[in-house]
């Protein structure tokens, strides 16, 4: 096998093919469009350009029900449009993969520049309670590996799995080893057209809608929650780098921004969640070794709340707002934060 120089979005397509992708529906959007550009040349994958992202995710739900592994890819504005049907897919237990290559928002924002503003939208974008599995790699080779994981997790959990990326790593070119030795999970449910099942977004018991049976609804949500937790525990992916020298600080970051964090590996211990949701519990044990927890992300504080929630302690936060990742700026902000802390 030969190493290949590929773009992040291209790596997603290569891995999706390995994972068994057979159906893609999408709508053009920067910085995710390269994914559909690559896919239209694959003869064994059905590719539809739909009229919008709502139709795209809906068509994927249909194709998945009909038995095919399905994927759609978008960026923040399209991801917002998909939210209602993502809730539907959780309720009907539809395996599919949704790639969100994040750009600067809100609204049209800065389409070509990277950000990390859609983290909370992944878990709370749709109405009601649902418990998605979300991965966020930080390199092209990780995009390749975690695309396969996303497909597998979708099949195991029978739910839409979200693969987060951003305009930086999706447009990055790196060499990867496109190996194919993955354990690929296949569909456990028979395809549509083989029975008398009814799939509905209404609260239901098996194939029968139960529109006002509260106890049944509570059982259904408990089932969805437990199922997602169980599958997520099989992945629980993160990166933890202990510091070469003695440090009291753990620096937490993820995605594109975490690539800059490696620069500080001689000053701080580093932690990077790859499975963003459900939050990896190991962070509790790791964080207990450090007096100081420093979180930086490309938004005004989305994942830091999740970290606070799970650790129940004071966390220092450095927002690096979307658009630019500048080492000099980050160094200054960390230094400033350290001075403030020492003055207190």
């Amino acid at each position: 096998m030969k190493k290949q120089l590929v773009q992040g979005n291209q790596a997603i397509v290569m891995a999706a093919e390995v994972a068994g992708l057979k159906f893609y529906a999408g709508y053009p959007i920067t910085p995710a469009s390269e994914i559909i550009h690559e896919l239209v040349n694959k003869k064994h994958i059905k590719v539809l350009q739909m009229e919008d992202e709502i139709a795209s995710v809906s068509a994927c739900i249909g194709a998945s029900l009909a038995g095919l592994k399905a994927m759609t890819a978008t960026s923040g504005p399209g991801f917002s449009l998909m939210q209602e049907s993502i809730g539907l897919a959780h309720m009907m237990e539809i395996p599919l993969v949704i790639v969100n290559v994040q750009r600067v928002g809100p609204s049209t924002g800065m389409p070509t520049l990277p950000a990390q503003g859609d983290v909370i939208q992944c878990i709370h974008g749709s109405h009601g309670d649902y418990f998605p599995i979300v991965f966020y790699p930080n390199s092209v080779s990780e995009l390749y590996a975690y695309t396969v994981m996303a497909f597998n997790a979708a099949e195991e959990s029978m739910s839409p799995v979200i693969l987060l990326s951003d305009g930086y790593i999706s447009h990055l070119y790196e060499t990867i080893m496109p190996h194919r030795d993955f354990d690929i999970k296949n569909r456990s449910r028979p395809p549509l057209g083989k029975g008398d099942r009814h799939f509905t977004g209404l609260s239901h018991e098996g194939s029968v809608p139960r529109t006002s049976d509260v106890d049944n609804y509570r059982r259904l949500i408990t089932h969805l929650y437990e199922k997602q937790q169980l599958v997520a525990q099989r992945y629980n992916c993160y990166e933890y780098l202990e510091c070469g020298k003695d440090t009291d600080t753990l620096l937490i970051s993820y995605g594109a921004l975490s690539r800059v964090a490696y620069y500080f590996k001689n000053d701080f211990a580093l932690y990077r969640p790859i499975q963003m949701f459900p939050v990896v519990e190991e962070i509790k044990i790791i964080a207990s070794r450090y007096k100081r927890i420093l979180v930086m992300e490309m938004n005004t504080g989305q994942y830091v709340r999740e970290i606070e929630c799970i650790l129940h302690r004071e966390i220092e936060f450095i927002p690096i707002l979307g658009g630019r990742i500048d080492l000099h700026e980050i160094k200054q902000k960390i230094r400033q934060k350290t001075i403030e802390r020492n003055e207190e």
Partner: protein, 248 residues
């Protein structure tokens, strides 16, 4: 007629009654769809029904087939995903005018353009009935509803014109004209391309009652008097039901 051979084989009879009000026309449409299935002897393995949200949307769950009850307005794209994933399936969408022509109209426009080989049966009762009776995209001009107390200021959508230049199958029929309805639905199921059957049907509780109809039979009789059948016409007038078919 025993259950295995007649139209009833396509229904989950044990789930009856439906959630629909007394006097509702949806049951007539549901039964006629099953009769059309029966006439064509559609295989139960290999036929799927997709619906959106609303009164008509609830009909999907009563088919004794694999069925999907999607989000509001999204029955057509879900159905297209199914059809493009497995071309061997007969894919039938059943939903209301609010779902298909209001919130989901964008998808209808593009499904017509893509000529996706699916059949859509629209239960057209001119009202958002499930939510209590608000104006729909085909509520006639000047009609009073909960959201148009002074009469609907807008004019209704006429779906037939969306089919111009796109070689689809369009039919308009009514809950009174049972044989015509069955013929339209049967033909649409046989049509190789995108087909749409608009069935005018009555909602007495959240619509007709407020317009002065005493009961749903009066609404049915109104269809009898109003509609003249004009099959295979170039264009249907407001008071005509019929079939507009182009080559697929």
């Amino acid at each position: 007629m025993d259950k295995e051979s007649g139209f009833k084989r396509y229904l989950k009879l044990d789930l009856l009654p439906t959630p629909w009000c007394p006097g509702c026309g949806n049951g007539i449409v549901l039964k006629t769809i099953c009769q059309a299935f029966d006439e064509l002897d559609l295989p139960k393995d290999g036929t799927v029904v997709i619906s959106g949200i609303g009164c008509a949307g609830r009909s999907a769950g009563f088919f004794n087939l694999d069925s999907v009850h999607t989000a509001h307005g999204r029955a057509i794209p879900v159905a297209e995903g199914i059809k493009y994933a497995n071309d061997a399936l007969h894919v039938v969408v059943v939903s209301g005018d609010g779902d298909l022509l209001g919130i989901g109209a964008n998808h209808l426009l593009h499904a017509i353009r893509r000529k996706t080989n699916i059949t859509v049966v629209c239960y057209a009762n001119e009202i958002y009935a499930m939510t209590g009776g608000q104006a729909s995209p085909i509520t006639p001009h000047n009609t009073k509803t909960l959201t148009t107390p002074d009469g609907n200021p807008d004019y209704p959508t006429d779906v037939q014109f969306l089919f111009k230049h796109h070689n689809g199958y369009f039919a308009r029929t009514s809950a009174y004209h049972l044989n015509h309805m069955k013929k339209c639905i049967t033909e649409s199921l046989e049509f190789n391309g995108f087909s749409f059957v608009e069935v005018r049907t009555m909602c007495i509780v959240n619509y007709g009652r407020r317009l002065g109809y005493k009961n749903s039979n009066e609404m049915l009789m109104h269809y009898k008097e109003l509609y003249k059948i004009n099959d295979y016409a170039e264009e249907l007038a407001q008071d005509e039901i019929g079939i507009i078919k182009s080559s697929s």
